[in-house]
Symmetry: C2
Subunit: 319 residues, 2 copies
């Protein structure tokens, strides 16, 4: 029988056990004491390099990810097969169970299911205190503890949450299609802000030139930065442009490792810590609002013997 | 020179000083220690009856409010001039300074400025911990402390916040115009939920019948309740229908005083207390995120000697 002790499971996952790894990831999704114990171990381990991939539904992200896996395993970061295993986290916040599962399955079905160098997991939000936006970074660290040097985080959708999850990465790829405008209108600025690399997938269709011009114009408006996101063209279904895309990721990694990487990771830690703080405090307020003390304060308020500020201070002081 | 001591000011406001009252309301808007001291006094006082008035910009709310003031002072709640003074709080969350001021001025200019029985105030969000959604209930209590038996709270707009502010009332009036559909589409359900009385103002225009039918159908869909919001017609610019509108308010007051009033006020106190709790906790998190301990925790996270959950717990424990 498989252990339910996070310390043992981390040892087994480091030794290559996929069952142990899967169990740790379930802990992370489910919340509770085992999540905390798992996090305590995982955050001590190496941090994997994280590549975020986001874009509207139907942009071809899972086919692209599938193709990328082959190139990554062959080329590695330095052309020397230094990436011996790759993991993919598939996140669909809009449909926590089925959607995510289908997404993962789509990649899994394309032949990697039996590949010992590839680990694919759909993330669902089950009981984690802070939902997916905290469960995903925890999962990334668990994969780091299991010695994965690279994690691809794929999110479906272009809403604020999807973009936020994908952009908690070292390199963020935004995938669009020719004639992308309408699909992304709602959050164009958000996508522009997080993109380190743009990919125009399905580049065998008409409208590539207009889409490239559109992206270029928006990048021009954004002003000069040290790194200007390159705009690549791929046809993922025909494996076209995938090697160039990986080259762009490697270039970006070289760029940020020469300076920004530590800042990025510090910012990410801040965002994550703030989320945990907010989530903990929210759950304290919910607990407070269900206690006897709370009802007593409401009674006092209705009786006119206190005011909301003193009542709140009394409740917060009495935690 | 006017006092800056809330206790003295409340005494003066109870004695009829409008200068003292205005100063207390400024304290409430501005936040800080004087706001807390003012709230501590105001929440001990009588609770005025609160009538909320909301609807889209241009629906004619300020003309309607202006007309209502005359009827209220004449008729009172019991037809016996038992409302000796009326106050109006004008709230425009979308434009905290100018918009609110213009709104108040619009009513003031219509002849009540020199009327000792009428007090009109535009609310602006300056420094209050919880913004307007807490400053307005505080202001209502301050008016109660100044012996106002009735407060009209008028908000411009039909967004969630506007509706929330107006509906923190004992009786909520939703003002629409013939052909209202488009203007409210975004938040029809929210408005339906809070309305105790519907007014079709500018009822001399075409489309009244359709608007009434539309409202009636939506009320039918909402199912049976003890109180079905009446749908009244007014032409505020010609003083038509105003007396009937006030009768409807008095009827609703009689209805809720026979049962729901205490529940409503208890719910309102809960909402208010929860907002204060959240606001206090948020400001604690902001304070935490600017302290040395926070940076120490970030350093530990980057060094891999803690995880976000332990770091957050340590920060919250060290408050």
């Amino acid at each position: 029988m498989i252990s339910s002790d996070p310390t043992e499971l981390v040892e087994q996952a480091r030794g290559g056990s996929r069952t142990a790894l899967a169990r740790l990831l379930t802990f992370v999704e489910s919340g509770g004491p085992q999540q905390l114990a798992t996090a305590a171990l995982a955050y001590r381990a190496e941090v994997p390099y994280v590549v975020g991939i986001t874009g509207p539904p139907g942009a071809g992200k899972s086919t692209l990810t599938d193709q990328l896996i082959n190139v990554v395993l062959e080329q590695g970061f330095g052309g020397a097969r230094d990436v011996d295993q790759v993991s993919v986290l598939c996140v669909d916040p809009s449909s926590p169970f089925t959607g995510g599962a289908i997404l993962g399955d789509r990649i899994r079905m394309q032949g990697h299911a039996t590949n010992q160098h590839v680990f694919i997991r759909s993330m669902a939000t089950r009981g984690h205190l802070g939902g997916l936006s905290l469960a995903v970074p925890d999962a990334v660290r668990v994969l780091g503890a299991a010695r994965f040097p690279l994690v691809l985080v794929e999110t479906v959708g272009v809403g604020q949450m999807e973009v936020e999850i994908a952009s908690a990465a070292d390199t963020t790829i935004v995938v669009v299609n020719p004639g992308w405008g309408d699909a992304m209108q709602a959050n164009k600025a958000g996508l522009l802000e997080v993109a380190d690399i743009f990919v125009i997938n399905k580049a065998d269709r008409t409208g590539v030139r207009e889409t490239r011009r559109d992206l270029d114009q928006m990048l021009d408006l954004g002003g000069a930065h040290e790194w200007r996101p390159p705009i690549l063209e791929t046809v993922a279904t025909e494996s076209t442009g995938i090697a160039d895309l990986w080259d762009a990721v490697v270039n970006h990694r070289t760029f940020i490792e020469s300076g920004q990487l530590q800042d990025r990771r510090r910012t990410r830690m801040r965002v994550e810590l703030d989320k945990v703080l907010s989530a903990m405090v929210r759950s304290r307020i919910v607990a407070l609002a269900h206690g006897d003390d709370y009802e007593d304060q409401i009674d006092s308020l209705l009786a006119g013997t206190t005011d909301p500020y003193r009542a709140a201070a009394a409740l917060l002081g009495s935690e």
